[in-house]
Amino acid sequence: MTAARTERLMDVLFVLLNASTPITREQIRQRVPGYDQGSDEAFQRMFERDKDALRDMGVPIELKNFDAVHDDVQGYWLDRKTWLLPDLKLTADERLMITLAASAWEDQQLTSVAREAAHRMGSMALRPHDGPDMRIGVGQTKVAELFDAITNKRVVTFAYESKSSQTVSDRVVEPWRLLLTGGAWYLVGFDEEREALRTFRLSRIVSAISVTNRSCVHDMPDDLDLAELVQSWSEIPGAKSTAVVRIDPGTCSNLRLRAKSVESTDTYDELTIEFGHKGRLLREVAAVCQYVQSVSPSELNADIANYIRQAIAVNS
């Protein structure tokens, strides 16, 4: 864009912004220096192009009737109330919080959207050097992809590997919310085939996420409590199971922290551990298996031995 055109477009913008009623094309012509030369036709073409260019940049220029009396004359109108933000009367502290909020993303694309948001709120966008060291969406490109789909309420499809069956299936999901908990990212949404709420761990989405142009039809229920949902993951309906793990005395303090009770003898410490998910207990015991003497019940002991053998099989 030439410097002359930039100046002209800015002039049009300011003329509209300062007008208290809709103004005609002719009135605009009189006030904008770039329009005073050339024929009427040349001016009209130029103005049409300029107006469209401004609209493309998000400036909501409307064509409006002057008033009830002159309903045959139309003028151009830029409504400050629709276009500009109301004054939120933010304090300096609040503007700093916005700066921090905008600078937390790891993803480049989300960062530039968030920075633009901060600028529009009248905040700085770059984190101050003494600001907190934080990062969100670490190593997760899928967060940015889903972010758009949630904002625009678009149905997404992807291939998902279920944890229990280890099988991959194609899912059609109305995305509701990204959930960050326990060091992992999840998508909470409405699974169209299963016709119910489902939670998907992003690391088990094994394909690219494709965003369809279909709109979501189910809203996230107002009473859905995600903290409760997370809580329910660690609680298996029915009773919890109990494992008794004997370890070398004084070892395995990580496992010990989780035990309900500990009994010490000269040759071993006996930990009583309550667990909901067997998978998690397998991981925890396998990690320290060199100090573990035995596990009961015996089926669990066999499961752990099996689990450890799998690790050995791929490393020898």
């Binding site: 100046e7 901060a118 031995a305």
Partner: protein, 299 residues
């Protein structure tokens, strides 16, 4: 972004930051300082008319800062798009939910204010473990009061929890995990501790003795051991994000990763905890450690 879009963004922002130097504007908007001056030059000649009082009035102060004396009614910023408002809300939700970062009550008030005005679509929810919150508050007060803290720590690089006395310097967060950078009096070095692995913490009466500037807060991993692994993607989280130097996709599920670990015993323990999901490509020594650590179970 063309000059007009930049000017639309920049002018109300300059109004909100009187006296800001051109270099800061350049940094904030990702353009050169020269370009900033050129844009200001355009502004000087623009307005609803051509006479005095009808043009935007921009001045340089004695401090070389930029002052907008008259913005010709363009003194309020443009409304946010849906995506922008959502990104802002998501970032604020992060600040609100992570007790290490900000006063969550103040953030909540701001979120209410913004929600009422912009009605953004919520995109991100964070559920943190409330059991960590007390520990984070304790670490915060230790940083402020510059006193030592005694912790019982279940380290990720050893199998046993240890008692340590640390001098907390700074809290940091990666996703929903909170870490504390602290001087460890036993190791006599800066260490990073994961707050969810601090089993017990108590404030000491003793003042901190080591004065560390921020530069030195960067963890030294030069003595760590280079390893190459092949693993299922979802186990990548077991390794320190900062030390991963390359990730190569093998198929939809498996990746090959070059990273560093503090010691091979720890690596062996992670490999065992992953069942068959992690294979050590190198060093070979680590594979031997995996086998010997499991020897009790292989009879």
């Amino acid at each position: 972004m063309n000059h007009i879009e930049l000017l639309i963004r920049m002018l109300p922002w300059l109004v909100a930051h009187p006296g800001v130097p051109p270099e800061t504007v350049a940094e904030e908007f990702g353009i050169s300082a020269k370009e900033v001056l050129r844009l200001l030059d355009v502004l000087q000649y623009t307005g609803p008319g051509q006479y005095g009082g009808e043009l935007v009035d921009v001045h340089f102060g004695a401090d070389q800062g930029i002052y907008v004396m008259d913005a010709q009614k363009f003194d309020r910023p443009v409304r946010l798009t849906g995506a922008e408002a959502s990104a802002l809300l998501a970032g604020l939700t992060y600040l609100e939910q992570m007790p290490a970062l900000a006063d969550s009550t103040e953030v909540a008030i701001l979120i209410d204010k913004i929600s009422a005005a912009l009605n953004p679509e919520p995109t991100v929810s964070i559920v943190t473990d409330v059991r960590e919150h007390d520990c984070i508050q304790l670490l915060k007060s230790a940083i402020d009061a510059e006193v030592q803290v005694e912790i019982s720590y279940a380290s990720g690089s050893s199998l046993n929890a240890s008692q340590r006395v640390i001098e907390p310097k700074r809290l940091l967060t990666r996703d929903d995990r909170t870490y504390v950078r602290a001087w460890c009096t036993e190791a006599e070095a800066m260490r990073t501790f994961r707050v969810d692995r601090i089993a017990r913490a108590s404030l000491s009466d003793l003042p901190q003795v080591v004065d560390i500037n921020d530069q030195e807060l960067v963890r030294d991993v030069t003595s760590w051991i280079d390893v190459i692994l092949e693993l299922d993607k979802e186990f990548l989280g077991d390794f320190d994000n900062d030390t991963v130097s390359s990730i190569h996709e093998l198929d939809e599920r498996r990746i090959r990763v070059s990273t560093k670990v503090a010691n091979l015993e720890w690596l062996a323990s992670v490999v065992l905890s992953a069942g068959g999901a992690i294979t050590v490509v190198s060093p070979e020594e680590a594979r031997d450690l995996v086998v010997s650590a499991a020897s009790r179970w292989l009879e």
